[in-house]
Amino acid sequence: MTDIRLSEVVVDRDRFRVGPVDLEIRSGSATVLLGPSGAGKTSLLRGIAGFLPLRQGAVRVDGTAVEQSPPERRGFGFVPPGLGLFPHRRVRQNVSYPLDLRGTPNARARAQRWIEHFELSELAERYPPQLSSGQRQRVAMARALAGEPRALLWDEPLAALDVESRDVLLRLLRELIEAEGIPLLLVTHDPATAFALASNVVVLEEGRVRFQGAVTALPHAPLNRFMARFLGFENLFSREELLAAGDGPLPRALLGGAGPSGIVVPEDALSWTAASSGNNLAYITSVRWAPRGWILTLRQGALAFYVHSPSDSLHLRVGDAVRLDLDRTRLRPLTAEGAS
C-alpha cells in the first residue's frame, strides 16, 4: 500500500504560482486535478514528479520526503500529455526500458506481461509512429507500469482520443486501480473524465484550489461563476442582471444585504411544456442541435434560460410560446468571484 501526501505544496512557473495544495492519495484510488487550461494543473503535477522545483511544501511517499529527490528517484510513473514515447525504440523496447535501465533479470519476460495485459502483442515490433493514438496511450501505460511505480501521474490521459479508444482506456485505468492498487493522480480539463474515474477531485482555477473533496460532492460544491460554468450550469444570473430584470421569475429578494452575488438555476429546477396562453409564458428565441438533443433558449421577461430537450424530433420553432415553471427550492446561490 502506498500513501502519497502533499503538504502545503506551492509550485512557481515563471511568474505564475500554484497552491498551496494539501492532498492525500491512497492506494486503489484515483485523484483528479481538474481545471481549465492555464489553471496550474500541469505545473502542480510536474512539481510532484520533480520536473519543477517546489517553492515550498513537502511531498511524502509512505512518510518519506521526496521533494528534494530528482525525478528518477521519486518512483513515480509520470506520463506527459504527449506520452513521451521513444520513437527510436520498438513497442517492446519502450515497455522494457525501465527494466533495461535497472538491469532487471528477465526484463523481456516482465515486459511481456504488460505487453499482453494491454493487448499489445501484435504491435510489439512496431515503432510508436506506426501506432494509433489509442495504441500509443496503451504503450505509455504499459511502460509506466513496467517500471513498478509507486504512483502513476498522468497529464491529460484521454486527450486526443476518439470515443472508442477513450472507453478502452477508461476501462484499463479502472482495472488498474482495482487490481493493482496503484494510486493515480490524473490531470484533466474535462469534468466528465473526473466523474468517470476519480474518487477525489481537486479543482484548480488560476493556481488556487477552488474545490477539494470526494467527486460525489462536486455537483454540490459552493458555486462561484467559474465553478458553475465549469460544471456545466448554463443558467447563471448575476446580481446586476436580476436587479435589472425587474419583477421577473427569479426572487430578487435573495439579493438583499449580504446575499449572494447571483443565482444559479439548475436545469432540474425548470419545467416547461408547450402552451400558447396562461401563466409563466416564455418564448423560444433559438433552437440548436446538440449531441444529446435540442437546446432551446427560452426568454421569460428579461431573462433567458437554456433548456435541453432530449427528444429526436422537436415540433417547436423559434417564436413559439411555452409555459416555463421554476422550482424555487432548487435555486442555488452564486458566491462572489474567487470565493470557494
Partner: protein, 285 residues
C-alpha cells in the same frame, strides 16, 4: 481550393514551369560531374589511381579530414546541444558567430589563421611552444578544415537536438534514467542522424577546401600523426596538376576524388538506412 482543382487552367503551365526550373538545377548539379567523367575517361582515372603522389595526397587528406571531423564532433555537438536546449544572454550572437566561417571567403580564412598563429605574436608563440606545428603540417590542415566545416556540425546537431521530444526525456527520467542515461538512451539516438549528416557535410567541406590550405599548409611535411613523404592535400594536388600539367591530368585526379567522396557518402547512407530503421516510419518517413 488548391491549384490542382478542376477549372484551374493555369495549373498545368505552373507545374511545367516548376518542373523545368527544378530539372535545370538538378541538371546543373549533375551535368558537370558527368562531363568530368566523360572527359577524364577510364585512362586518366587509372593514371591518377596509379600515381604514388596522388595516392599519398589522397590518403593524407582522408587522415586529416578524419581527425578534423573528430574535432568537429567533439567541439560542435556540445555547442549544438547548448544552443538547442538553453536560453542565455548573447545566444543570438553565438549563433551568428557560428555562421561566420560559412560567410568568409576561405582564402581570407587562411590569411587570418596565418596572422593569428604566426610565431611573431604571443598567441602564435605560445602554440609553437606547445610543439604543435601549424604551418605546412597536418595540424594546419586540420585547423583549416575545422574552421571552415565545424559550423555544419553545430547547425545540424542543433536542429537535431531541437527536434528531440522533451517529453520523451522527461518520461525517461521518471522511469529511472539519470540525466546522462536519458541523454545516452533517448536524446543521442534521436539526434544521431543529424550529427552524422553534419559530420558528412563537414568532411565534404574540408576535403573540397583549397584557399585556406594554399596559405597555411601548401606543402605538408611529416609530423605526428602523418609520417609519409612531403605532400599536399588532394585538392591542392589537383590544383597543382591543373596549373602545371593541364586539365586532362587534373580531370583524372578530380574524377577519382569524386569517386572516393561518393563512396564515403554511400557508406554513410547505407549505415543510416540499416542502423536507423525507425527514421523510415511514421513521423520521420
Amino acid at each position: 481550393m488548391t491549384s490542382d482543382t478542376v477549372g484551374d487552367r493555369g495549373a498545368p503551365a505552373r507545374r511545367a514551369l516548376g518542373a523545368v526550373l527544378a530539372t535545370s538545377l538538378i541538371g546543373l548539379f549533375v551535368l558537370p560531374i558527368v562531363a568530368l567523367f566523360l572527359y577524364a575517361g577510364y585512362g586518366n582515372v587509372a593514371t591518377a589511381a596509379g600515381s604514388a603522389g596522388f595516392r599519398t595526397a589522397l590518403s593524407f587528406t582522408l587522415l586529416a579530414s578524419g581527425i578534423a571531423v573528430c574535432f568537429g564532433i567533439l567541439l560542435g555537438v556540445p555547442l549544438g546541444y547548448i544552443l538547442a536546449r538553453y536560453r542565455f544572454p548573447g545566444r543570438s550572437i553565438v549563433e551568428s558567430i557560428v555562421l561566420v566561417p560559412v560567410m568568409i571567403p576561405h582564402l581570407i580564412v587562411g590569411i587570418a589563421l596565418l596572422v593569428l598563429f604566426a610565431p611573431t605574436n604571443p598567441f602564435g608563440a605560445w602554440v609553437a611552444g606547445l610543439g604543435i606545428p601549424i604551418f605546412d603540417a597536418i595540424w594546419g590542415v586540420v585547423l583549416v578544415m575545422v574552421y571552415v566545416g565545424a559550423s555544419y556540425i553545430v547547425l545540424t546537431s542543433e536542429l537535431a537536438f531541437r527536434s528531440v521530444d522533451g517529453e520523451a526525456i522527461e518520461a525517461a527520467r521518471s522511469l529511472g534514467a539519470s540525466p546522462i542515461e536519458a541523454f545516452a538512451t533517448v536524446t543521442l539516438p534521436q539526434a544521431f542522424r543529424g550529427i552524422v549528416t553534419g559530420s558528412l557535410l563537414m568532411w565534404a567541406r574540408g576535403v573540397s577546401e583549397v584557399g585556406g590550405f594554399l596559405i597555411l599548409a601548401y606543402a605538408i611535411y611529416p609530423s605526428f600523426p602523418y609520417g609519409g613523404p612531403v605532400t599536399n592535400t588532394a585538392s591542392v594536388y589537383i590544383y597543382n596538376l591543373y596549373s602545371t600539367t593541364g586539365v586532362q591530368a587534373a580531370a583524372g585526379a578530380s574524377a577519382l576524388l569524386v569517386l572516393v567522396a561518393l563512396a564515403v557518402f554511400v557508406v554513410v547512407r547505407l549505415f543510416d538506412r540499416t542502423g536507423m530503421a525507425w527514421t523510415k516510419v511514421g513521423w520521420f518517413a
